[in-house]
């Protein structure tokens, strides 16, 4: 084969340059620690890396959520713990009253005073605010104080049943709050409980008192009945009828066209109520059996019962309060257990996410990270090859006939 002068130099030069190029690439790899600096270096591995990195970013967002979940739930748990402690204290006091049998008026008053204070404490707890000032038991309406007393002394819940849910794993979502309605309001009450309500659609501002039991036997005899207090739409002055819901249009004896006096108490079938404010003709108020009571009403009923002079009513007040308090406590304990379970789940998700992130990083590393032993060996080999090429070039290029033409 004929080797031209050009080919001799150009070919050798090209080989040297090729080695230098490879050497440069390996040096870059060694310096950066990355095998892949752009996607075209290895499209397949790059595809894997992009997907894994995406997964890791998402999991990291979940990890941030886990922190938020734990923060919120721990706050709630503390509040509920305070709440169950308060309930336990009331329960102890109530049991004490029951056991004593006869209480002096002073003792009775002292006990009632403590129970009232604990009730205030529970109201405070139900209006717990977190570090950012949110009312944690208000559902979605966290900027409004959810538990407030109305003019009749009834504690009303103005929040809602909204639950905020955070995602802590690909398929795991955790509620981070519980509505005050579930915790404090809808507690199953003992039989023969009642509630008074203002009908939706009333046009006046009349409000009915909470009502208190004043004649146990009468109430128990008819306690499955609902009684409607109806302001006469046609009668000229303000007066009202009281009807049993099962017998509409027929006023109860003595309750036909009763003249209305704001704040005046009257007893309907064992329950004493009063209506204050300004009801309008056609407005309705209801006394009805209650399946559920709120914890505040339960405590109020206890206070009413203990303060009653009727021994039957007093005994019923104490015994029903014990059952009611047990139900409220049970609800508190249930919620605490659920909070604990949610914290557990979020922690399980957290460590699961961590594992996936770890393995994701590891497999990205396998695709992307340089194997130093390999790269250094390659560099050694290439450097050696370069030296050889350079030295042979200088040796061989002197071999020309012209060198011998003297």
């Amino acid at each position: 084969m004929r080797i031209s002068f050009n080919e001799f130099y150009q070919g050798t030069l090209t080989r040297i340059l090729t080695i230098q190029d490879s050497l440069n690439e390996k040096q870059n790899q060694a310096a950066s620690g990355n095998k892949i600096s752009k996607i075209s270096d290895d499209p397949q591995a790059s595809g894997r890396i992009i997907n894994l990195e995406r997964q890791i970013v998402q999991l990291n967002a979940f990890q941030v959520n886990v922190d938020a979940v734990k923060r919120h739930l721990n706050e709630e748990e503390l509040a509920i713990k305070g709440y169950t402690n308060a309930l336990n204290r009331i329960r102890e006091l109530t049991v004490g009253i029951g056991n004593t049998g006869v209480l002096s008026t002073d003792d009775q008053n002292a006990l009632l005073q403590e129970i009232r204070l604990i009730k205030e404490q529970i109201i405070d707890i139900s209006n717990t605010q977190n570090a950012t000032g949110e009312f944690i038991f208000a559902g979605y309406q966290v900027q409004n104080r959810p538990f407030n007393a109305d003019t009749a002394g009834r504690i009303e819940f103005s929040g809602d049943q909204g639950q905020r849910i955070l995602q802590v794993g690909t398929d795991t979502e955790i509620p981070i709050n519980d509505s005050g309605q579930d915790i404090f309001m809808d507690i199953p009450a003992v039989a023969d409980s009642f509630e008074t309500t203002v009908n939706t659609g009333n046009t006046g501002t009349g409000i009915i008192s909470r009502g208190r039991l004043t004649d146990l036997a009468t109430w128990q005899a008819g306690s499955s009945e609902t009684y409607n207090i109806i302001f006469n739409p046609l009668a000229p002055g303000m007066n009202f009828d009281v009807e049993a819901a099962s017998n509409p249009g027929v006023p109860l004896p003595g309750f036909d066209d009763v003249p209305f006096v704001a704040g005046q108490e009257f007893e309907i079938e064992g329950i004493t109520v009063s209506i204050s404010g300004s009801p309008q003709p056609g407005d309705e108020f209801t006394i009805q059996p209650a399946n559920n009571l709120d914890v505040f009403a339960m405590i109020d009923n206890l206070i009413d019962g203990v303060g009653s002079t009727d021994p039957d009513v007093q005994a019923f007040g104490i015994s029903s309060a014990l059952d009611n308090l047990d139900a409220a406590l049970q609800r508190g304990v249930d919620i605490r257990a659920e909070i604990g379970a949610r914290i557990n789940v979020s922690e399980v998700s957290e460590s699961f996410n961590e594992d996936i992130i770890f393995y994701g990083r590891e497999s990205i590393g396998q695709d992307k990270d340089v194997d130093y032993a390999e790269v250094i060996t390659d560099i050694e080999q290439l450097a050696f090859a370069l030296e050889v090429a350079q030295s042979t070039f200088t040796r061989v290029q002197g071999l020309s006939i012209f060198n011998f033409l003297r």
């Binding site: 031209s4 992009i50 309406q141 900027q143 905020r164 979502e173 809808d186």
Partner: protein, 848 residues
């Protein structure tokens, strides 16, 4: 004696020339494209004298280039391949890094945007995290713009490179032409001119792929790879770069001949070389990347907007657009471009309808010669025909806004055009971020049952339910009358909306209130009707007249009335967009009590097929019927001892008999067959309750003729859904109302965050990030392939170059040997001259 002088002189002269050729070789040993020249010696013509020929010395026949034209041709082809792939790879790598580097990638800002959304969701009422979200939104939008700008800059850079390549091509063509002129004017063209021309051809091949053909007269004609001529004979065609008609950003090329006439070069003509690589880079990388990015911007913008509009913000308002409206009037008209050769002047709007179905492709809309239009996907080549506008396809709709389209007119549609540039964040008030949902559901505190109500789902906030700000109109209240019945009231006024009792079937799932009252939905069965083929106005469903064909092709036709299949088809063809569907159901035909007896041809036909039975038994007759009717879609079975006919697809069943009932020939059945009787099938019409505003209105002059009851299905879609499940008790109450003050609600925020991982894009095949990463990976893969191609071509090139050098290169040792040889011969010739001189002096001395 003078002969000897002359012979020596030829030797001296010619070897002097040979030495000068050798020294020419030596001095050009590193000249690029130089081919070794060699002197071809020959004997001079001999003299005839004295009866014999006497030699007269040496002469130079030719000074040749040593070349192998085949290798040169291969080099020329291969260099185009190398330059193309080199150019493509170098350009693509820049974009590859731009799109994949986390410092410049759109994907990274999308991640940060969604992470900020997650943080905001954890504390929806926290203004700081909302501010962060808005900042990340702007950062993401800015990144989209930056990348888009960079990609568009690449197009301008590409354009200026293409312009300079075009000038180079024209200059080289001119040079080749002038060398052609020199060469054809000479008998023996100089080897150096030939080398020069070869070098020019190679230079040209580096720019664009060409073919060359050497003519008999020594000139070379040059064409582009598909035969378009650049240099032919004694003329040159110039190339000109012009702005493309279909896309003002890019350049097309025209061929201009010597007399100034020009023609557009198809994009497939200019291939190979640096220019081909650049065009491929532009068409395969940049333009698709811009379109892909546009689609991503549309996808994220529209999907986010749609969900955001279903939400409620911190001020209890329904969510507004979060990003710009993808169907802004400024955008819709700029997605379609008329061809300059169009005769008509129709104008169109292109709206994005379903962003998830959108491709990043371009489409060509063409008016067919007679009637109708076609839409072709330029990238996939798939074509769809349609009859009229508006037409919806691949997630966009084309609406004609003016003018008329002449036959043959065409338009280019790019649904993603300008999308990234227009992408912008619309919200700047943190309070306007709609993380909450406008409804909230509640179970009453006094409920005794265990039923629960779901938190609900909002589908449409333009619904009348949300027509009054910060109110649900009306708020609903579901009251259970007992554990299996309920009624529905207006929760604000107490007015009864639906008295019921409505049956509660263990769960109310995604209920639409109130329950339809008039027509029985989901299915309404129509009876036998006389909806005739031209019975316009007989039946109108949701305002659309149903016109059924008289025949359906499978049912036996007995009268002019439309068959059930034809009516169902007519309904399905016209009202499916309203969620109304219909199907035909065959009414079974009972043949009645069987009396044993045989049947011969002509006595009894079902749907025109003769039933023949020689067995005289009922089971024999049954199998005869099934054997004969297989092809007609009708089958027979025994039911309670009687033969019953049915058909699977809802076709009519026709019984006919030549005989009159009761005659001796036809006594097998006790049914009264009158010569020919069609038992019509029924039509069942149903309305999908989940389908938008699912009202179904049945009207028309005679809907009763097909057994449908005129009226409106009293079904109201409130624009949201909720479910009640579990066991309710009497007097249990569930309500749904407006979510006033629900500042800590993150339900809509969670739905917004869900967009990141929802696999709905690209026709349900991809997530948002998937759209981006598949684009980046496809660019990386193309760059990788180009690099491989370049390496392969480089290896081949090295081989070809070394073969060329092997043939045409200058070897200095060889030249040294030649130099010594020619010097010796020159010396010897000088010696001859000396000898001749001495011979002459001997002679003179002898004479003297």
């Amino acid at each position: 004696m003078t002969d000897i002088f002359n012979i020596a002189a030829t030797g001296l002269l010619n070897f002097q020339r040979a030495i000068s050729t050798t020294s020419h070789n030596i001095s050009n040993s590193t000249t690029e494209g130089y081919s070794k020249q060699q002197v071809v010696l020959g004997t001079k013509d001999p003299d005839f004298g004295g009866g014999f020929f006497l030699g007269t010395g040496v002469r130079i026949n030719d000074i040749d280039r040593v070349v192998d034209d085949i290798i040169n041709g291969q080099i020329q082809t291969n260099i185009s391949l190398i330059r193309e792939n080199q150019q493509f790879f170098n350009e693509t790598t820049k974009v590859d890094s731009l799109l994949s580097d986390s410092a410049t990638s759109v994907s990274a800002t999308m991640d940060e945007f969604f992470s900020a959304l997650q943080v905001a969701n954890a504390d929806p009422s926290n203004v700081t995290s909302r501010e962060t979200l808005l900042r990340q939104t702007q950062a993401m939008v800015d990144r989209f713009h930056a990348v888009d700008r960079q990609l568009n800059t690449e197009i301008s850079i590409t354009n200026s490179s293409l312009n300079s390549f075009v000038s180079e091509i024209n200059a080289i063509s001119e040079s080749i032409l002038s060398i052609n002129q020199v060469i054809t004017s000479q008998v023996n063209p100089s080897p150096d001119s030939l080398d020069h021309r070869d070098r020019l051809i190679k230079d040209l091949a580096e720019i664009v792929s060409i073919r060359t053909l050497e003519q008999d007269n020594g000139s070379v004609s040059v064409t582009l790879s598909n035969g378009v001529s650049l240099v032919s004979g004694m003329s040159v065609n110039r190339i000109e770069a012009v702005t493309s008609e279909s896309d003002s950003r890019i350049l097309d090329f025209r061929l201009v001949n010597a007399s100034g006439q020009s023609q557009l070069l198809d994009s497939s003509v200019v291939t190979g070389g640096q220019m081909g690589g650049l065009i491929r880079f532009r068409d395969e990388i940049i333009v698709p990347a811009i379109n892909d990015l546009g689609r991503l911007a549309l996808s994220i913008g529209d999907t986010f907007n749609q969900q955001h509009r279903l939400g409620m913000d911190l001020g209890d308002r329904i969510g507004q657009d979060y990003f710009n409206d993808v169907n802004d009037p400024n955008l819709v008209a700029n997605r379609i471009f008329a061809d300059s050769d169009n005769d008509g002047a129709a104008t169109f709007d292109v709206e994005i309808t379903t962003v998830a179905d959108l491709t990043a492709n371009e489409y060509v809309l063409t008016a067919l010669p007679s009637a109708g239009y076609t839409l072709e996907n330029v990238q996939t080549g798939s074509v769809v025909s349609f009859g009229s506008f508006p037409f919806t396809y691949d997630g966009f709709s084309i609406t004609q806004t003016g003018g008329t389209m002449a036959a043959g007119d065409s338009y280019i549609i790019n649904p993603t055009n300008n999308a990234t540039n227009a992408f912008s964040a619309q919200l700047n008030d943190v309070n306007s971020i709609a993380l909450g949902m406008p409804i909230r559901t509640a179970a009453d505190g006094n409920n005794a049952g265990t039923a629960t109500i779901s938190t609900g789902e909002v589908l449409d906030t333009t619904n009348a339910s949300f027509s009054i700000p910060q109110q649900l109109n009306p708020p609903y209240r579901v009251e259970f009358l007992d554990e299996s019945n309920y009624r529905i009231l207006n929760d604000a006024s107490g007015a009864v909306i639906q008295a019921g009792p409505v049956a509660y079937n263990s769960a109310i799932v995604n209920e639409v209130f109130p329950i339809p009252a008039i027509n029985s939905i989901p299915a309404q069965t129509a009876g036998v009707g006389t909806l005739t083929a031209n019975g316009v106005g007989d039946l109108i469903i949701n305002g659309i007249p149903i016109i059924a064909a008289a025949a359906d092709g499978v049912s036996p036709a007995a009268d002019s009335a439309a068959s059930a299949i034809a009516i169902a088809n007519a309904i399905n063809n016209t009202t499916t967009t309203h969620g109304v569907t219909a199907r035909a159901v065959t009414n079974e035909v009972n043949l009645g009590t069987y009396t044993p007896g045989t049947l011969v041809a002509g006595e009894f036909q079902i749907n025109g097929v003769n039933i023949i039975d020689a067995s005289g038994t009922q089971t024999g007759l049954l199998s005869s019927i099934n054997a004969s009717l297989g092809a007609t879609g009708v089958s027979a079975a025994l039911d309670n001892g009687e033969i019953v006919l049915t058909a699977v697809d809802g076709r009519n069943i026709q019984l006919s008999s030549a005989a009159v009932v009761g005659t001796a020939n036809f006594t097998n059945f006790n049914i009264g067959i009158i010569n020919s009787e069609v038992n019509r099938a029924a039509v069942v019409v149903s309305d999908d309750p989940g389908f938008g505003l699912g009202n179904m209105t049945i009207a028309g002059g005679n809907p009763a003729s097909v057994g449908l009851v005129a009226g409106v299905t009293n079904q109201i879609d409130p624009g949201y859904r909720m479910s009640i499940s579990g066991v309710p008790a009497r007097d249990d109450v569930f309500t749904v109302g407006y979510n006033n003050g629900g500042v800590s609600d993150n339900r809509n925020g969670a739905a917004l965050a869900g967009i990141q991982s929802s696999n709905i894009f690209n026709g349900g095949a991809s997530t948002l990030n998937g759209l981006y990463s598949s684009m980046v990976i496809s660019i990386g893969t193309k760059a990788y392939q180009a690099e491989l191609n370049e390496q392969t071509a480089n290896a081949l090139q090295a081989n070809l170059e070394s073969r060329r050098e092997e043939v045409s290169g200058v070897n200095l040792d060889e030249e040294a040997a030649d130099l010594l040889r020619y010097e010796q011969i020159y010396q010897a010739n000088a010696r001859v001259l000396q000898t001749a001189d001495q011979m002459l002096s001997y002679l003179f001395n002898a004479l003297g």
